[in-house]
Symmetry: C2
Subunit: 335 residues, 2 copies
């Protein structure tokens, strides 16, 4: 173990399109010492999230972009090593926006102490972490599913989508997942117990989706955008809700793809499309952790990570898997 | 005065694109006699509404399409001639979905008795009729404008838009109208007293709109769709609301135009796009009539009709004015 802090920094603003490796620089700095009221975390797992594509880009968004030369923003989990903070002790397992690096210093703000007896540490940057909270508030607060309704989720095998689909089931809905390829679809049916799975790569999305939703669609939880949204819109029932959580199909596009042609359905069926960012429920995260943890401990919520080795040096390459569907389950980098 | 009832009937389903004259047939039938509990109305004014394009087309919508051979659906106003209904007396001025014809028989359901001392009859199919109710509920219930916010309206010189913009002013908002051409823009500023007017035909929509909305946009009341929506989206403030009332730019398109490319703004700014149809507030119409009537009588709500002569024979041609911006104010046909 070296006495340096390896860090992934943002070297330059990326051009539109996939992120090239030279957008990031990997540097070794000194291990930081916590000041008064602070503690140091040794990071073990880093969450790779589609939102990262936005965080490195200029342009209006919900948070400031990562500054050039700054450590890349990222959720991570690890253990407290040294603490001058009354609420955090060495050995505590914690999760927070610690950045893509080996060691971080924190004042404890927005840091969550996690229970590694309930679930292994990696799971707290996955389905029990930010992606799970996003699924929880996005579906329940924005989607407002009612028992007996049909809930469709895109990127249903992904970190957010898989939790959305399972919460929908827990709330008494018909849960239908859209995913790419037979393996992911089998996972949705056999492991997660969804009512139907639709493979968007099979080339027959509109008909397959219609067959999977004989009562139409009441809630469409959107992670993808593009053609999938356009295909879903005409199947939406009156007063349907569309929580807009992600548009991963567009993140690497050099020009934004055309939006949905079928907006007429939004009008005639009185649909609601509503964007959501989990930060808006920052003061209610404990609710999500309580319910997700309970469902998980009861075996009602299945969570799968796709943990990649290779340490921080592998970060730029592993990140790009997200935008090609190359991961299976929540993508996590082991430090 | 003849003793026949001239009627505009739907002769065939139209092809996509502008409505050709042969979509309708104009026929003379017998003057209908009211049965028990019914009354007969002599129609004087017929409302021409963008929604008519949808009513004659097949395909999923919020109401059944007009059947082939049936009288064209339409709001109209006139006076009761003969009545077997306890609540309606000969001479009563009424407004309702009487159809595009000279005489209609009604059971009084969803018929509104109107006060021609407050406003002339033609106004009750305009700003005090369905377009006004749509503006009222769409802005206040879906848009939820707060004092000091910026409200932008497209088709702002139109029947719905002009009322939306004025209600926004009455609620203490900055009201900005988008319209086509300098004459309509002058009307918005000089007659309706809006804070700014933007001419979308001037070729500089994005910059002009930004200049007109120095604090960004909180509510965008959408009547048009297409490029205007795309231009508005990046200017929307966080948690902005977009009541989707019409998509007139698409109604005559042979294929639906691409939707908004800038959906990313919906996500990052947590916008809400919500479709609305005034029928959903059918049991609250008296609220709209009460408030609109009050504002109108106090001189705070200006309403302008574009009344066309020519009778029912002119209906097909006059209707098409709506889709080219050829009208100025609520388009009404005098029977």
């Amino acid at each position: 173990m070296s006495n340096t802090n390896r860090q992934v920094k943002l070297a330059r603003r990326p051009a539109p399109g996939p992120l090239s490796r030279d957008v990031f620089s990997i540097e070794d700095g000194p291990i930081p010492e916590p000041g008064p009221g602070q503690f140091r975390v040794k990071i073990e797992y880093i969450s790779l999230d589609p939102a990262m594509r936005g965080w490195v880009s200029d342009g209006r968004s919900y948070v400031e972009p990562v500054a050039i030369g700054a450590v890349m923003r990222g959720y991570a989990a690890g253990h407290v090593e040294v603490s001058n903070h009354p609420d955090f002790k060495p050995g505590d397992a914690v999760q927070g926006l610690f950045g893509v690096q080996q060691y971080a210093v924190s004042d404890g703000k927005r840091v969550v102490k996690v229970d590694t007896n309930l679930a292994p540490l990696q799971r707290w940057v996955g389905g029990l972490g930010m992606p799970g909270w996003t699924a929880y508030f996005g579906l329940l607060e924005v989607g407002q599913p009612k028992p007996g309704e049909t809930v469709v989720v895109s990127a249903a095998a992904g970190a957010v989508g898989s939790v959305v689909a399972q919460i929908a089931k827990l709330k008494g809905c018909r849960a239908v997942g859209i995913a790419g390829g037979p393996e992911k679809c089998r996972y949705l049916l056999d492991e997660l117990g969804l009512d139907a799975a639709v493979d968007y790569k099979a080339g027959n999305l509109a008909a397959d989706l219609q067959a999977a939703c004989p009562q139409g669609i009441d809630v469409y939880f959107e992670n993808v955008g593009g053609e999938i949204l356009d295909t879903v819109l005409p199947l939406m029932n009156r007063f349907g809700r569309i929580p807009l959580c992600g548009l991963i199909s567009a993140y690497n596009a050099t020009t934004p793809p055309p939006g949905p042609r079928n907006l007429r359905s939004v009008l005639t069926q009185r649909l609601k499309i509503q964007g959501l960012i989990v930060f808006d429920w920052a003061d209610r995260i404990d609710e999500a952790i309580r319910d997700l943890g309970k469902w998980y401990s009861e075996g009602k919520l299945k969570i799968r990570e796709d943990v990649r080795e290779g340490g921080l040096d592998a970060f730029p390459d592993v990140l790009n898997l997200l935008y090609t569907g190359g991961n299976h389950g929540k993508l996590v980098l082991k430090v």
